[in-house]
């Protein structure tokens, strides 16, 4: 399984498989004095839903931002479909098939649902490049229907929608693009059980279709075990655990976090002593 140089202790080497769509090796990232990512190894198989866990500040969002081309790593390499992957921008990453739903949703409150769905990929008429609003409305309606999202009116500003509806639109936007890898940064943040289940349903449907592969940052272990095929946990800027969800449990995941918490407490006490 592991086919590379021995990594420092505690760091799990990436398991590789021939159908990996995305591989990430030894990624590091610093922000001034802060090390956000130390040494991250990760892989994603075709059609797989990978759950990414980790404490606040463990580096999950930084990793997502690097994968999506929003930031550049300081060290390490990435491969997409076996080819070296060095996104120059979000646009570049998207052109290569990786699209992201950010924590802050990247929705534009002032714009309508369908304009948000098509943001940056707007359809225009020819030869005069006016927005093809009617076409976009029809396609937006179709796309939302296909993935089972019920938004009563798609010409209202997204500011007027609920948190769940906004999240669903953000997910629909990436699905609607031609992307085959979707990164979801805390899709269930600040959401009630009902709205959360709507998003998990959506992920389940995408998984059943098998076209896209998904990396999803989650906090709730139950959600991870329910919605994901595999789970990776980031601790301290590196992957501390990488297992199929069938082989792990809420207890094991909790233990890892509790142990980390105890170590952190002990370290703090030492410092203050």
């Amino acid at each position: 399984m592991a086919d590379q140089a021995p990594a420092p202790a505690k760091i799990v080497p990436p398991t590789s498989a021939p159908d990996d769509v995305l591989r990430v090796e030894h990624i590091s990232k610093r922000f001034g004095p802060v090390t956000a990512l130390r040494d991250v190894n990760l892989h994603l198989r075709k059609g797989e839903v990978l759950g990414l866990l980790g404490d606040n500040g463990a580096g999950k969002s930084t990793l997502i931002k690097i994968l999506s081309g929003f930031q550049k790593q300081d060290g390490g390499q990435m491969w997409l479909h076996g080819q070296p992957y060095e996104p120059k921008s979000v646009d570049d990453a998207r052109a290569k098939g990786i699209d992201t739903v950010y924590q802050d949703l990247a929705l534009i409150d002032e714009l309508s649902v369908y304009h948000n769905l098509f943001l940056r990929r707007e359809k225009v008429h020819r030869p005069f490049p006016f927005l093809a609003n009617r076409e976009m409305k029809l396609e937006a309606r179709k796309a939302l229907d296909e993935i089972g999202i019920n938004i009563p009116r798609i010409d209202v500003a997204v500011a007027r929608l609920s948190g769940g509806q906004r999240q669903a639109i953000a997910v629909a936007r990436t699905v609607n693009s031609a992307s085959d890898i979707i990164l979801l940064d805390e899709p269930l943040a600040a959401m009630g059980a009902k709205e959360g289940s709507m998003i998990l349903d959506l992920v389940a449907r995408l998984k059943a279709e098998g076209r896209v592969s998904i990396i999803m940052i989650l906090h709730n272990y139950v959600h991870v075990l329910e919605a994901c095929d595999r789970v990776s946990m980031i601790q301290d800027g590196a992957i501390a655990l990488d297992k199929p969800t069938a082989e792990t449990s809420v207890e094991e995941l909790t233990d890892i976090v509790v142990n980390e918490y105890r170590r952190a407490r002990a370290a703090t006490h030492e410092e203050s002593a």
Binding site: E122, V156, M198
Partner: protein, 378 residues
């Protein structure tokens, strides 16, 4: 799941039935909306009402207001504010501001003068002067979007720089605008007075085609203003340029994450705004036949341009604005000043009343906005 997504977003949109009927455009809430609310729902709605009220007031109180002679005075006066406001709207929707239009307003006519005086044809001289304005906009946009300096500071610096540059190259002296000279010819006209034919000499003013087109003609400036307002409103509402402008102004980080090229959008809007400033400068210099290094006048017209945009409903905070609103804001300012003059208000009181009227109009605007939010945001 359906019941979650179907949760009404606001009280006036009742829980929609699932199925195709819920998908009709508009929906039941729209058809029932009374006219009053529809006018209020327009961004420009409140200022249209306020402007109409002011116009009607002057029309009733001053016989000279509603005359074609007065419109010939009023419209060219309004045009510069409308054009500057239209350009400013694009920058203000981004949440930025451009104070340097006062500078391009002052500098562009001098560049035009220097080029035309140096033997360059008239129209290419104007074009080169406007290209120089584009460079100014590019620099403004670069400092704001790439270097990250607040646009207020960037463009204030640019304003002083350009005004100073104009004073240096003009030596502080006004010059005649090239191509704007008036030729006077005389013709013999036969009048019939008490059955007697008398022949009289009459003076006739001729201005060249160039001058007629670039601000010298009676309606030239207002036609420029209307065309620019229409074109820019279309650009704002119906193109990706406009959509991305609103996106950046509403949620800059979100727009960037969605792949909108924030820097490009910012820079090109600053270019647009700077060109508007330069164009108004050229039009004004042609219509007045002199190029004047009047920095105080430039600063005043700059603030009228910004005021037109803000009064017209464009938010200083960004994310929302209309070009047509800027035109109506300019009309409001023009009608106000014109009406006050016609009413015989002393010159000393003019600015005082104008200021109070702006405060009153903006208070009404804010009140109507709250009404609108109340009725439409739930």
């Amino acid at each position: 799941m359906a019941d979650v997504a179907g949760t009404p977003a606001s009280p006036e949109s009742p829980a929609p039935p699932t199925g195709p009927s819920a998908r009709s455009r508009g929906g039941p809430a729209d058809e029932a909306t009374p006219l009053r609310e529809r006018v209020l729902a327009l961004r420009e709605g409140s200022i249209i009402v306020v402007t109409l009220v002011v116009a009607i007031y002057f029309a009733l109180n001053t016989g000279a207001f509603f005359t074609s002679a007065n419109f010939k005075t009023l419209l060219p006066y309004v045009a510069p504010f409308a054009i500057l406001g239209a350009g400013e709207v694009f920058v203000m929707i981004l949440g930025e501001i451009d104070l340097s239009i006062g500078g391009t307003y002052l500098l562009a006519p001098y560049l035009f003068y220097k080029l035309a005086n140096g033997g360059f044809p008239l129209v290419p001289s104007v074009i080169v002067a406007l290209i120089a304005c584009m460079a100014v906009g590019l620099i403004n946009g670069f400092f704001t979007a790439v270097v990250g300096i607040s646009s207020f500071v960037t463009t204030l610096g640019m304003l002083f720089t350009l005004e100073g540059l104009t004073l240096i190259i003009s030596n502080g002296e006004p010059v005649n605008t090239p191509g704007a000279q008036v030729h006077q010819t005389h013709r013999v006209v036969t009048h019939v007075v008490n059955g007697v034919h008398i022949q009289l000499q009459e003076a006739v003013n001729h201005i060249g085609t160039f001058a007629k087109f670039f601000g010298g003609g009676v309606y030239s400036e207002i036609i420029w203003a209307l065309v620019i307002v229409v074109v820019l409103q279309v650009l704002l509402t119906f193109t990706r340029w406009g959509l991305h402008t609103v996106a950046v102004g509403s949620n800059k980080l979100g727009a960037a994450e969605a792949g909108v090229l924030v820097r490009l959008v910012t820079i090109r809007n600053f270019i647009l705004c700077a060109v508007a400033g330069g164009l108004v400068g050229v039009l004004q210099s042609v219509s007045s036949q002199t190029v004047q290094p009047d920095t105080a006048g430039a600063n005043e017209i700059l603030f009228y341009g910004i005021a037109a945009a803000v009064i017209g409903g464009t938010l200083l905070a960004g994310g929302s604005g209309t070009v047509v609103g800027a035109l109506i804001g300019a009309l409001f300012l023009g009608i106000l000043k014109d009406g006050l003059i016609l009413q015989g208000v002393s010159a000393n009181y003019l600015l005082f009343y104008t200021g109070l009227a702006i405060l009153a109009a903006m208070s009404i605007n804010a009140y109507v906005l709250r009404l609108r939010r109340g009725t439409h945001r739930g």
